[in-house]
């Protein structure tokens, strides 16, 4: 009887222990959730720094008379980017399971975490963390355009374009892959957005540059007349900050703080950037017999853009190759665009479009996903996203050109956008 009692007690005790174990298990889930979520938030803040990086880089690469303008655009882009992503971008890009495999979907306006959005039931991070991390990405694609159209675009036209580009075009193609749309179903791979973010920005930049035409005096009868940026230190600071932010961009794209995953991404990202610098250094020295800082800076960015699609799929050695190739591409691409009289003051098309394409293709050539099938999927993804984005951007810019106009008058361009659009100078006594 005593025994029986004891065993009954045992059962109760075991039940009690089981409850306590369950409590521990869910506490562990919560604490892992807390750490994962923390990393994605920190990563979001790092991606924010990229907007500062872009601002500094672009400001450094334009002339003194257009510096206020580029800063104004970049300050407004991040604001517009966040607000439009809050309004509809997030809903368009992540429409939910119902739209899996499709071309378009919409979860509705604004944010709606629902019952469980802010709990671990939502995933490795909260709904709001998800939103803010994605929102920081969104504005990036417009910032890329901003640099390419610098020094000649009308402010209103640019702001209108950016709003629609970030609010509509970017989330639609983003949904194709990251929102579980058709490209995802197909097997297209783009880890952190060589195509979905950088090439998208690059296509927008290309469309804009084609419709805008070059800056006055860039392509003369006597050949190309380079227009040096007004501050190399500012550009260099911008690139370092972009590199710093990229740890959040790529590292956060693991979508958890998984030690193996994130640390590999840190290594591949770092080595690709470093190799990009070396590739651009050697190539530009070979081609131009000069140690061109602007090329090395673009080479770093090229390496970063290049590794972005496969940062989690490459070994360190492969990352070095991806970066090196990107670095080699940069000087060649910059010169090629110039030959084609496509005037891009900051090299956004070379860095984001060309290296974005290279990086996306690299996933089919190197790393754990390499293979013919993957390569074809990568090509389809690049083509589809490119076609949609270029068409969208081209039509939108064309419409703006025919209506409000996209380019300032020659006289205004000559005087500089700072005085014309902002009635102020970047530098004063």
């Amino acid at each position: 009887m005593i025994d029986t009692l004891l065993t009954h007690d045992n059962i109760a005790l075991a039940g009690d222990l089981a409850n306590r174990i369950d409590a521990n298990t869910s506490a562990i889930t919560e604490t892992t959730f807390l750490s994962n979520n923390l990393w994605i938030m920190v990563a979001a803040a790092l991606v924010f720094v990229m907007h500062l990086g872009f601002s500094a880089l672009e400001a450094g690469f334009v002339r003194r008379k257009n510096v206020v303008n580029i800063l104004f655009k970049n300050a407004m882009i991040i604001a517009i980017g966040l607000l439009s992503y809050w309004l509809c971008g997030f809903g368009l890009m992540y429409p939910g399971e119902a739209f899996s495999g499709s071309f378009f979907g919409f979860a509705g306006f604004g944010l709606n975490p629902g019952e469980t959005g802010q709990t671990s039931a939502y995933g490795d991070y909260t709904y709001y963390t998800d939103f803010i991390f994605q929102a920081m990405f969104a504005a990036t694609c417009a910032t890329i355009v901003s640099g390419a159209v610098a020094e000649r675009i009308k402010l209103e036209a640019f702001l209108l374009f950016s709003t629609l580009f970030v609010a509509i075009s970017y989330p639609i193609t983003g949904m194709w892959k990251w929102g579980y749309g058709w490209l995802d179903a197909l097997g297209f791979y783009d880890f952190a957005g060589s195509t979905l973010v950088h090439s998208v920005g690059g296509w927008g930049a290309l469309a804009a540059v084609m419709l805008l035409g070059p800056r006055l005096g860039k392509y003369t009868s006597k050949g190309i007349k380079p227009i040096p940026g007004h501050s190399m230190p500012m550009a260099a600071i911008g690139v370092f900050l972009l590199w710093f932010g990229w740890y959040g961009f790529n590292g956060g794209s693991v979508l958890s703080a998984d030690p193996a995953g994130v640390s590999l991404v840190f290594v591949t990202t770092s080595l690709a950037a470093a190799a990009g610098a070396v590739g651009a250094f050697l190539t530009s020295f070979t081609l131009f017999k000069s140690h061109d800082l602007s090329m090395v800076l673009n080479g770093i960015l090229g390496g970063l853009v290049g590794i972005t699609a496969g940062a989690d799929q490459m070994s360190p050695n492969e990352a070095v190759i991806v970066g090196l190739v990107a670095g080699v591409i940069i000087p060649i691409s910059v010169v090629a665009f110039d030959k084609a009289k496509l005037d891009d003051p900051v090299g956004a098309t070379s860095v984001h479009l060309v290296c974005g394409i290279w990086g996306t293709l690299a996933v089919g050539l190197l790393g754990s996903k390499a293979g013919m099938d993957q390569f074809i999927n990568q090509l389809i993804g690049i083509g589809a996203v490119g076609l949609f984005t270029f068409t969208f951007a081209f039509l939108l810019f064309f419409l703006l050109k025919k209506t409000i106009g996209i380019r300032v008058h020659d006289e205004e361009e000559d005087r500089g956008l700072d005085i014309i659009e902002h009635d102020m100078s970047a530098y004063n006594l």
Binding site: I224, K225, P226, F288, D292, M295, V334, D338
Partner: protein
């Protein structure tokens, strides 16, 4: 009284200043100018080689009495010379009046 304006190399300024000091010329006015001349420089930016058209130079303005002017010119010429294209020019012309703002001194007294 004469005004002497010399367009000189940046790299020769220290020598010129020292040489001028040796002959007692401690006062002058300096400005940054851009010289368009024979000398060319190579620049490379984003894969394009070009010539920036001008070279940064310094303009030295010196007010001098007629008797001192020749010596000043000679001094600048000697101290500023490298013998290579781009050493610059000196001009000299007459001025009517010199005033010192600080007091009522004029002309020779004001130099």
């Amino acid at each position: 009284m004469k005004k002497i304006e010399a367009i000189v190399r940046l790299s020769k300024f220290d020598d010129i200043r020292d040489a001028l000091a040796d002959i007692g010329v401690l006062f002058f006015t300096l400005s940054d100018v851009k010289g368009f001349g024979l000398q060319k420089e190579k620049r490379v930016y984003r894969g394009s080689t070009y010539d920036p058209d001008y070279i940064a130079r310094l303009q030295i303005d010196i007010l001098a009495t007629d008797d001192k002017a020749g010596e000043i010119v000679k001094t600048i010429k000697e101290a500023g010379r490298t013998g290579k294209v781009g050493d610059g020019k000196i001009i000299m012309f007459d001025i009517d009046k010199v005033y010192r703002i600080r007091n009522e001194e004029e002309d020779k007294d004001a130099i």
